[in-house]
Amino acid sequence: MNAQTQFSGGFRNAPVDASHAFRAAMTVMARPGEIRDLTGAEPPAPLSIAAGTLLLTLCDPETRVHLAGEADTEAVRKWLTFQTGAPIVAAAEADFAVGRWDDLMPLNTYRIGTSEYPDRSATLIVECDALEQQGAVLSGPGIKEVAHLSLPDIAVLTGNAALYPLGCDFFFTSGTQVAALPRSTQIRAEG
């Protein structure tokens, strides 16, 4: 383990970088289907820049993070620990989970909140090969008429939306790009 990897790749100017990143994360969550650039962090492989930047922006010692599948490497663990202090936990306890869709599943492992505190639920950061504004048809809050977004599994995500106001929220990341899908969005297959 090279010390520089663990300690480097954080925000250069944390207040400014984190504010830009937070703005991007908030915008895509508020406007499902929109794709934005998200940069600032240089995380160890296999994390994408967008996923690493999200983790630095959203995590601290009080957010429990689950690393799924190949995202769970010694390098990622050490990097996340130094940069955010976030404890690394199993899927069922996570506030945030990061990994590829197949590694993250099944979705019913994650917390979906309670009727008193729907916010006590997990947010999944799904690493994708590409993000495109095509595929599933999205409608609901934050979308004027309809939006389109490439989603990994429409059936599972529709099931999640049906739990509203409970359920998980999703970021999709690929390279330096991010999109999001809150539980409040209605999903239809293209057609």
Partner: protein, 153 residues
């Protein structure tokens, strides 16, 4: 970096603790006296934050959250690749930076010199202050005299 042995971890624990608790003025005076100006780059620039202090019910039982304290921390990298961490009580970025530099140098060939000029004198100053308070406390310790009472005769 070489994996730290338990013994070196224990030694580092000891000097980092001294640096954290040291009065800022005392630490800065000793550090400035060294006239060292090592080149370094930030891994984590000094940031001020809080640590939630815990106690235990009844002093020995289940933990509970007592309240926070201010802490300043930073991490830096010397030219030779040594990483130094500073975690100090209070809100002084300067103190945190100095503590991280001392922590880094304590892992290099300068360790003996830094120990003799910074860590040892700080430890002694702090021990002296602690002993002075303990001495005043000792002077307020009650010495009971047992009186002979009439009805017991």
């Amino acid at each position: 970096m070489v994996e730290q042995t338990d013994k070196s971890a224990e030694a580092r624990q000891a000097w980092m603790g001294v640096l954290a608790r040291a009065p800022q003025d005392a630490l800065m005076a000793l550090w400035d006296g060294l006239q060292l100006n090592p080149t370094y780059e930030w891994l984590r620039a000094p940031e001020i934050g809080g640590v939630m202090v815990r106690g235990r019910t009844g002093g020995t039982g289940a933990p509970f959250n007592l309240g926070e304290m201010t802490v300043t921390r930073c991490s830096l990298l010397l030219k030779d690749g040594t990483v130094g961490h500073g975690y100090v009580q209070g809100r002084s970025r300067d103190k945190a930076r100095t503590a991280a530099l001392v922590d880094a140098l304590m892992q290099t060939g300068s360790a003996d010199m830094v120990r003799a000029k910074v860590i040892d004198p700080l430890t002694m100053q702090m021990q002296a202050a602690k002993t002075a308070r303990a001495a005043k406390a000792a002077a307020t310790k009650v010495e009971f005299f047992t009186m002979v009472r009439g009805e017991d005769q």
